[in-house]
């Protein structure tokens, strides 16, 4: 099956500095494929290159090199946009229009007739929870969360096959975030491809089939969450009750860490190479009771933090080639990373 999104060595350089312009690489030979029907999480810290990638895919900026296809068509193909939805980061619309007027305007650009535009607008405003009493108000009177909901509605106007969401949870309260998660799952169930960027890892863990982690403009990891995290199992957690201290002391060499969680009840962290069954047998023989035994895996957050730190170390050691330019360029790049504004 053809990929819904195919990105091939996409690179974007900006020229920074006022007088003596220097190149600054915001995205470095990024390659990815997203299959139809996937919910794909595009993760990374602020300034990692997530928004740059999305802007390249939407042709809001042009690549320095590399190419990409959406639904088998090259970037910039106006016809392909008929089947694409896009929510920008912190979206901003014409604040003199009402939510209804805005959506109807966009619907007309998609070629809907007046009646269809009104019907589609009403359906989507229902779907994102904008009540009838607010639809006639100008957007300048909307809260940030409501604008975000309108943004999600406009991204779904054309019943798109592929939906790009840049930080879709941004500005939403817990209820709003729950609604958006449910909406993304509905879109997945309808067979649509969802590509969303986020730095909120819990969202990715809850929603995504696959993720990619970017840092400093480069791909740090890509794969199924289960694959990424399965390799990161780093031990076992054994919770036991009715344990006598002298038994615990005897087993201490085999235990990495022991934490008392109640009277005679302990959470024991065992190294990955240990044999938890043998330790458990000894404990049970000494009168202890098993409460639970689980593999200790990295959370996505653990993985993310470690991988991003590794990528930054590599970049500092010059592994990144011209990615982080030397001298002033590097300092500017680091500052941009910290501020996280230009590219993300």
């Amino acid at each position: 099956m053809a990929a819904a999104i195919r990105i091939d060595a996409l690179t974007k350089d900006y020229w920074v500095g006022f007088w003596r312009k220097r190149p600054y690489r915001a995205l470095d030979t990024l390659s990815l494929e997203v299959q139809p029907g996937e919910v794909f999480g595009f993760l990374g810290p602020n300034g990692a290159g997530k928004t740059t990638t999305l802007k390249l895919l939407m042709q809001l900026i042009f690549p320095t090199s590399g190419q990409a296809e959406i639904l088998g068509r090259p970037l910039g193909d106006v016809g392909a946009r008929q089947r694409i939805g896009y929510l920008p980061e912190n979206p901003s619309f014409y604040d003199y229009l009402t939510a209804e007027e805005l959506l109807q305007y966009y619907a007309r650009l998609f070629g809907y007739s007046g009646t269809d535009a009104r019907r589609r607008t009403a359906t989507l405003l229902d779907r994102v929870g904008i009540g009838a009493e607010r639809r006639g108000q100008q957007l300048r009177k909307y809260s940030k969360g409501m604008v975000q909901r309108v943004g999600i509605a406009q991204a779904l106007l054309n019943d798109p096959d592929v939906i790009f969401l840049d930080e879709p949870m941004s500005g939403l309260d817990p209820l709003g975030r729950r609604d958006v998660r449910a909406l993304i799952l509905e879109l997945r169930d309808e067979g649509r491809t969802v590509f969303f960027s986020s730095h909120i890892l819990a969202d990715a863990e809850a929603l995504c089939n696959r993720v990619a982690v970017v840092s400093g403009g480069r791909l740090a990891a890509e794969g199924r969450l289960s694959e990424i995290l399965a390799f990161q199992a780093r031990g076992w957690e054994l919770v036991v009750a009715d344990v006598r201290p002298e038994v615990l002391a005897r087993l201490a060499p085999q235990i990495r860490r022991s934490t008392g969680i109640a009277a005679h009840r302990y959470a024991l962290e065992l190294p990955i190479e240990s044999r938890p069954a043998a330790i458990l047998s000894e404990l049970v023989a000494a009168g202890a009771t098993l409460v639970s035994l689980n593999p200790l895996r990295d959370t996505l957050e653990d993985f993310f933090v470690r991988r991003v730190a590794e990528m930054r170390d590599e970049a500092r050691e010059g592994y990144g080639g011209n990615h982080r330019m030397s001298g002033a360029g590097a300092r500017e790049g680091a500052q941009k990373d910290d501020e996280g504004h230009a590219r993300d």
Binding site: M58, L60, F62, G79, R81, I84, P91, S92, Y96
Partner: protein, 268 residues
Amino acid sequence: MRAISWIAVNVFKESVRDRVPYSLVLFAVLLMGASYLIGQLTAGQDVKIIKDLGLAAIAIFGLFIAIFIGIGLVSKEVERRSIYPLLAKPISRPQFIVGKYAGLVLTLAANVAVMTLALYAVLAYLTYTESPEFRDAWDAPGVDPRMLKAIVLIFVELMVVTAIALLFSTFSTPILAAALTFGLYVAGHFNTDLRNFDQVVESRPAVLLARAAYHVLPDLSAFDVKTEVVHGLPVTFGYIGTTLAYGLAYITALILTSVVIFSRRDFK
């Protein structure tokens, strides 16, 4: 074409919501107030002065609308980031530029039409109230359809100014775009001086430079036939046709340049 028309309608809607029509109320009040005062001060010349004042006011009000909305046509979209979701829709960048331009021209057309009606209404009132002896002494009739020639040329001039503002709006900030557009407007009205530069300067390079500037800068003085119309002097249809063709060619060149610049622009 469909997308262009919807973009144009949205520009028109924005100008209405931004209270641009208030300028029309100001125009009407100014015109009525002036006609009353002039009627008190002059004898027999009031219609000519009202025509002068009315045509100048149409040009100036239109200029303000053309510059102050024109400079924000693209830059405002970029600044408030409303261009991101818009360009992700099935429209091309040239369609966006042409739609934006058409929208402002539509706004200008509506404004010029209303101001023209207001001017004719005031002139009709003055003609009706004036004595026949004074009316016979006028260079041209009070309600003179030939004034439309001047108004059509003012409108085309405003279209040129709008295209200039749009061009600057595609790559610079609103303040810089306003300054550059106003600068070109002023230069455009003194363009004929550049053509005759050799009569006042002997330096050959300076004359060549002035001649080049004359051909590149818009000749906006060609659109100004207010004096001829007010004094009942002839303005031929041949002249109007040539001037319109010049204006439309200049507008086309400006829009094509805007499209080329905008089509390559990154929205960081």
